[in-house]
Amino acid sequence: MTAVITADSLTKTFGGQRGVEILQFEVTKGEVFGFLGPNGSGKSTTIRLLLGLYHPTSGKTTVFGKDPMHDAPAILRHTGYLPGELALHPRLTGRQHIDFVADTRGLKDRRLQDALVDRFEVILDHPTRTLSKGNRQKIGIVLAFMHRPELLILDEPTSGLDPLMQNEFQKLVRETVSEERTVFLSSHELDEVQRIVDRVAIIKEGKLIVTDSVDGLRKAAPRTIEFRFPTYVDPQLFAAIAGVRVLDADGGHITLSLHGPVAPVLRAAADLDPIDVIARPADLDELFLTYYRDDSPDDSSSRGPSTKQSHAR
């Protein structure tokens, strides 16, 4: 698979402040790569490094095999970018913004631009200061997609969009990758990421803590098992089993998070004559939230979601 983006020990600090540290990942042609993390985790910093807006402190990144610090115009010619906080000139209209970008890009064929304007019901002729965040975001979508770029770098792209438009946007992303184009999607919207991405990197406090396919993450996610017993049961009986974390214990009602084989748990439970058992499939939301929590995800023996950080390439 052709790598469209590579990051090799990519690090950016701002004076003494953390930006991102030793990022290591690849994005291959034709995939939707989700870049997931809470606010302030380093998502936008990473994007600015990819676009050549920030100078890396150390390490390197390439986009289309080129260094963004030295070949930014060549990269940006084939890249569409939608920033997280889209800033438009307040007195200019959407049409004036779109015309400016189209002219600067030397865009002759405006059919895709017109189609996007129709599809997202973009308000073209009002000054952008009079538009809602969602309507400004629609202009940003047109600006990012209208030249049919090979790579789209999207930072919180559906911010402010209503559910119908979010759905339309997700369709647009799918259409984009179906044409073997590549999407780098940064978000903290778990639902959105689950629906449209192929692979996910989770960044926390400037560091990548896992990179894997969504299916891989789902498989690695802990199962939740609830037991109901006729009498009180000591939760330590289950907590002592490898890969088990006791989520809740209330008399004879025990809820466990299990990462690993289920047999040891069932054997332990069978001796206690359980009345009922419910096992839920892996919940990706819970997995992400587990990573977002303050304590280390490496502490997986008791917490379950991942035995190791998997900086997959």
Binding site: L53, P83, E85, A87, F100, D103, T104
Partner: protein, 262 residues
């Protein structure tokens, strides 16, 4: 297209530029039109007699009611440079650092244009604004020849070039400081302070002996403070202004190419 960024900035500043330019034109016309009323007012000349401090501060050499004295005292040594610097320093501080602070620069920096290309287009926009203001004012001064302000056109053109170059140089300084710091406020503050100091040095040097050597470090001296209206803008003066502009342009590019953008 190379000119798109320039055109965008000119569109964004057109109201400001039109307002400043029309205001300047009106003021300049009033000054030249009033000259016949004052040209024989000998009491005014008492202010500047014997090379007084007042004459130095007004930038006048010789009679205040002479054509050059009248234009220097009322237009060229104060109001025109002030308006020029308001436009150019204001634009210089906002065109990169200011737009980066408010996020709108990313509309340009994420397009396939090299940073040097962006900078050049910003400098072109800066120069257009300075030249437009200088030309409009120059036309008013040339019209003044019909109001007894009988000065050689070449001198009027020369000093207009000097004022335009002065504005461009300080605008470039603001661009450079903004590119270095990424802060519009810092760019405005530092450039404004340098301009004020430069103006004071040029104005006071004729009457304060220890300041005299420092006048050569003042851009005002090379553009308007060395008798340019009476004697014309010398090639040396223009050369200094162009050279300073070239150095500032190079420094701005160096700083902008290293700036982390938002």
């Amino acid at each position: 297209m190379l000119a798109d960024v320039s055109l965008l900035d000119l569109r964004l500043r057109r109201r400001l530029l039109i307002g400043y330019t029309l205001g300047m034109a009106l003021y300049a016309f009033v000054i030249v039109a009033l000259y016949p009323e004052f040209k024989n007012t000998t009491s005014l000349n008492n202010l500047t007699k014997h090379g007084s401090t007042a004459a130095a501060l007004l930038g006048v050499t010789g009679s205040l009611t002479s054509p050059s004295g009248w234009l220097n005292a009322n237009l060229l040594q104060n109001f025109l440079p002030l308006v020029m610097l308001l436009i150019t320093i204001g634009y210089g501080a906002s065109c990169l650092a200011g737009q980066d602070e408010d996020g709108t620069l990313s509309l340009v920096t994420t397009l396939p244009i090299a940073r040097w290309g962006i900078l050049v287009q910003k400098v072109v926009t800066l120069a257009i604004q300075a030249v437009v203001l200088a030309i409009v004012t120059m036309i008013c001064m040339i019209v003044g020849r019909g109001f007894d302000l009988t000065l050689p056109v070449s001198h009027l053109v020369g000093i207009s070039v000097g004022v335009a170059l002065l504005g461009i140089d300080f605008g470039l300084l603001a661009i450079g400081v903004g590119s270095w710091t990424g802060s519009r406020g810092t760019a405005l503050g530092i450039t404004g302070a340098v301009a004020a100091t430069s103006f004071l040095v040029s104005s006071l040097a004729p009457v304060v002996a220890w300041l005299r050597p420092a006048k050569y470090a003042s851009l005002f001296y090379w553009s308007i403070g060395n008798g340019q209206l009476a004697h014309g803008l010398t090639l040396a003066s223009a050369g200094v202004l162009v050279l300073v502009g070239a150095i500032l342009l190079f420094a701005s590019f160096w700083a902008f190419s290293r700036l982390d953008l938002h």
